[in-house]
Amino acid sequence: MVVVRNAFQMERADHGKRDEGYIELSSSIFFRKEDLKDFDLSEGDTVEISRDGKAIRMKVKTDDTAPEGGAMIFNSIYASQVSTMDDFKRFNAKIKKVEGNPTKLDEILRKFEKK
């Protein structure tokens, strides 16, 4: 997985990080079209990305700038759920197809509530 900056997503951030367009782009995972078959995925599927006990659900999309044999996500709170300080921008994770929708922002933010 690589974590990248995207001008279109950052443009939406100026409308606020609760902006629907921003959340949609932030909760998307991009593959090269020709790689989808190898991952047994189709555009529009929901996948769970997990590593070291942390997980996040994202929507599958295609983009020809995704890395070959890998996936690309945009820098955001979604990426931050599975990245670590040591491999902030490039890391290995497990991906599996799941039912349902991408994780909701409020679902993530609930984890930050003070106990």
Binding site: V2, V4, R5, N6, A7, F8, M10, E11, D14, H15, G16, K17, K54, D64, T65, A66, P67, E68, G70, M72, N75, S76, I77, S80, Q81, V82, S83, T84, M85, D87, F88, K89, R90, L109, K111, F112, E113, K114
Partner: protein
């Protein structure tokens, strides 16, 4: 008007009949949406007056035993200087996002370990630009048109068509690499850098022979080249000594410089201001009088050593790994920001500020260290300098 959308700090932005001219998608979006999503003063989740928010924050800082100050890359040097003074006064830990971004590269430049130059020099003279782990098309959309590839330079009148050569090294195809004359997809940045060094020393590398040979041949023909290193290089390159060696070898065959691709508008300003004061660029403990990886924002917050965190113009809940940001709620959190962010949502105290550079004047340092002065038409009184001065009064 000068745009603060990224560290290019474009100085040619105009507003005519409500339209933002010359800016890229990101810059025009920032300027058009200045009034939306503004932060509101809050204390303990309840709406408050700005006065009460500042007073509460000041009391929290005053009574803190182990405060941390973080962010500051989007504010002016004047505000950064005040934050450094405050950190000194309360013996705080002080850090900015350069620790996770271009810090190591900026440090090498400030210590004279790798040669660097200005983007103006690049515009006038460069006949070769190598973006390494950087995709300016998205991160700094006017970087190529203002400085590196598309402009006519004093010594490069035929521009990109004949005078300039663009190469991109990355782990993937990118919109920037689709414009390059030469793109190299690398799995391991150390291996590829090693291959270039080996070839420049006249030996044969064991990996990436074809790509490195093609690039080195072109490098040998260049008169003035620059490597622009982005986050991909920062996280891909494990051995920083390789960069020192590469720059040394490149300068045996041509004139070559390195410029880091910092994203935040004034990250470089923070690094240089702290460097002048302490000889270090980030992750500094004023209690211990030194910099150390264990004083980085992430290490301190994760270890729980802090009792108050002051975040100025940054959104760590969004940008830092959950392992780190989840610890923010363990202590009191004060956020100073012009807009609502995911970090203001969980903060104990929110102090609304204005956009540095756009709504309030001062100075910043561009990505290449060039100082840029901001004189907006209208000055907002509630700005980072005012807020920090008020917070300082309390301590």
């Amino acid at each position: 008007m000068i745009c603060t959308g990224c560290a290019c700090l474009c100085e040619d932005i105009e507003i005519k009949d409500g339209r933002v001219l010359n800016a890229c998608l990101r810059g025009s979006s920032l300027i058009r949406n200045l009034n939306g999503n503004r932060a509101k003063a809050r204390v303990d989740g309840n709406d408050s007056t700005v006065e009460k928010a500042i007073k509460t924050a000041s009391e929290l800082i005053q009574s803190a035993e182990s405060p941390v100050i973080y962010g500051l890359d989007t504010t002016t040097i004047e505000a950064q200087s005040l934050a450094i003074k405050m950190a000194e006064k309360v013996e705080a830990y002080l850090d900015d996002s350069s620790t996770y971004c271009m810090g190591p590269f900026v440090e090498m430049i400030l210590k004279g370990e790798v040669p660097s130059t200005t983007l103006d020099e690049v515009r006038e003279k460069a006949d070769m630009t190598i973006y390494w782990g950087a995709d300016p098309f998205h991160s700094h959309p006017r970087h190529m048109s203002r400085f590196t590839y598309y402009p006519r330079g004093k010594f490069r009148q035929k521009g990109w068509e004949e005078d300039r050569y663009l190469a991109v090294i990355d782990v993937r195809d990118s919109h920037t690499s689709s414009l390059a004359r030469k793109k190299v997809i690398v799995r391991d940045d150390d291996d590829f850098m090693n291959a270039l060094i080996t070839l420049l020393r006249g030996e044969t590398p064991s990996a990436y022979l074809k790509d490195s040979a093609e690039l080195v041949n072109r490098i040998k023909k260049s008169e003035f080249g620059v490597i622009i290193g982005g986050l991909g290089l920062r996280y891909g390159l494990k051995n920083l000594n390789l960069l020192r060696d590469l720059m040394k070898e490149l300068n045996q065959v041509s004139e070559f410089y390195f410029i880091p691709m910092g994203c935040h508008p004034n990250m470089r300003g923070f690094n240089e201001t702290l460097y002048e004061r302490t000889g270090e660029i980030n992750r500094y403990s004023f209690r211990d009088g030194r910099s150390d990886p264990e004083y980085s924002f992430s290490s301190i917050v994760k270890s729980g050593k802090n009792d108050v965190v002051v975040v100025i113009g940054s959104d760590p809940v969004s940008s830092l790994p959950y392992d780190i940001s989840s610890s923010l709620g363990r202590s009191k959190l004060i956020v100073v920001d012009p807009r609502e962010t995911l970090t203001t949502e969980i903060a104990d105290v929110v102090i609304p500020s204005s956009y540095s550079g756009l709504e309030t004047g001062g100075t910043m340092k561009r990505i290449d260290g060039v100082e840029i002065e901001f004189k907006p038409e209208k000055e907002e009184e509630l700005n980072d300098v005012y807020i920090l001065e008020r917070l300082m009064e309390g301590v």
